[in-house]
């Protein structure tokens, strides 16, 4: 295997032999692999984690804390929702991502005999993981909104939606953008855990090359580390820039 082929395999995944394709699941999702799959899973899990995180954060912030008022009465037992939301967040934050991934892969099958394509399970596991961390980021973003600014906007005659779109959202977004980018990097790096369940992402492709081809594992793993490192470093440099820009506007 030439260097070019190794890099190509790491980027798009090791070609799967026809007899390994599971006829029960769509073929195209079984063909994605390597860095491609890492990026797909990262992006998908962040997109799916956002609504989960938003719901958890708004529930935990209570009737007044969220970005808008939830369509629930003020006295309607908030504790009945807040309790479970807090438990979900603390439990998923308290266990290692390794256990979360393994449980997502083995628990549904054990309980309900449910067979789901591995890529979907991987996305579910990482969505749960990113959802709870996003909920913490959203909560700190909500806290950045000063009640007095909202009152001032209401006094100026702005409506409910105008206050949401022009006052609350910009402040919240600006306050949480650096943490958000940090989470993207974390999810990107932590998706390497998926190799234990045989999802053919970047780290697992290296393993596949090592098993099948007579090339130096040190070289392949070195390339894998280089790919992860360069993307994560680009992200964290951006993150630092963003932090400076965002905090400058907040202090004005």
């Amino acid at each position: 295997m030439s260097l070019y082929e190794i890099i190509r395999t790491l980027l798009i995944g090791y070609p799967i032999p026809p007899e390994m394709i599971d006829p029960n699941f769509p073929v195209f999702i079984q063909r994605i692999g390597g860095l491609n799959l890492t990026l797909v899973v990262t992006v998908l899990s962040l997109l799916l984690g956002t609504p989960l995180g938003l719901v958890l954060a708004m529930t935990r912030s209570g009737p007044h804390g969220g970005i808008g008022r939830l369509p629930l009465g003020e006295k309607m037992g908030w504790w009945a929702l807040q309790g479970p939301a807090t438990v979900i967040v603390e439990v998923i934050r308290g266990i290692p991502i390794m256990i979360l991934v393994l449980l997502t892969f083995y628990l549904p099958y054990r309980l309900f005999r449910l067979r789901v394509p591995p890529i979907i399970l991987a996305t579910v596991a990482l969505s749960l993981y990113s959802g709870v961390y996003l909920s913490e980021i959203f909560r700190s973003g909500f806290r950045a909104v000063d009640e007095r600014w909202v009152d001032a906007a209401h006094t100026l005659g702005l409506g409910k939606w105008q206050v949401l779109l022009k006052i609350k959202l910009p402040i919240t977004l600006r306050a949480m953008l650096p943490a958000l980018l940090g989470l993207v990097i974390t999810i990107f790096k932590d998706s390497s855990v998926l190799m234990v369940v045989g999802v053919p992402e970047l780290t697992f492709s290296a393993r596949q090359i090592q098993v099948a081809e007579p090339v130096s594992y040190a070289l392949v793993l070195g390339l894998v580390l280089l790919i992860y490192w360069s993307l994560a470093t680009t992200g964290s440099v951006l993150c630092n820039r963003l932090e400076k820009v965002c905090s400058k506007h907040l202090s004005e």
Partner: protein, 235 residues
Amino acid sequence: MNFREYVFAEPYFGWLCAGVQMTLLITALTTILSLVLGAVVAAFATSSSRTGRLVAKTYVSLFRNLPLVPLLLFLVFAMPGVFRFLTGRRFPVGMDFLLLVLGLSLNTSAYIAEILRSGIQALPAEHAFAARVLGLKPLAIRISVVYPQALRIVLPALGTRLIHNMKNSAIALVLPLPLEYMEVVGQAGRIAGQTFAWAEPLLFAAAVHLSLAILFSLIVNKLAREAQRKIEVSR
């Protein structure tokens, strides 16, 4: 779900208990090593020498941006070859556990160095000036004036990172460790290998990790409250 058969029956329960001990051992070793490494790197990062700062910056940016799974795989599978290529000597066998501890500590120490650096730089420079006026040597200033106060400021962030470090020990599952060195998730995998039951031992491992994390965060919160009180007293 059949916990009685797959978790609380011998020899499985014994394996899991040994795994819990190993998790605690890995956590203790990596915590100590990464605190020491982190403190050294933070000292470089806040030193007056430009080379020292560059070294610290490189270390932090290198190990903070490398994911743990490929890093550990590299240390265990590729390091022996690299070592042999560089020195011409054979890498001693049976070092996998130590390489695991080293890899986890490299990762955590980079984060800790960054946390400690921010704590040291948050401290007013007048404290160090005052100590110098009193005639303390630079090293004495660092050890008895700057570090204790910086530690108090960053205690909550440090605690969070150390809990994260404990959770990272589960990544040992990807390494082919000898049976007696397997931590709790590894032992759960060992049970699954014999019984095909993943869910029950995994839920046990999750419960262990969750309770350890809660215990740790209670301790950290208590320490942080005391530290906060001391900070307020000193002002």
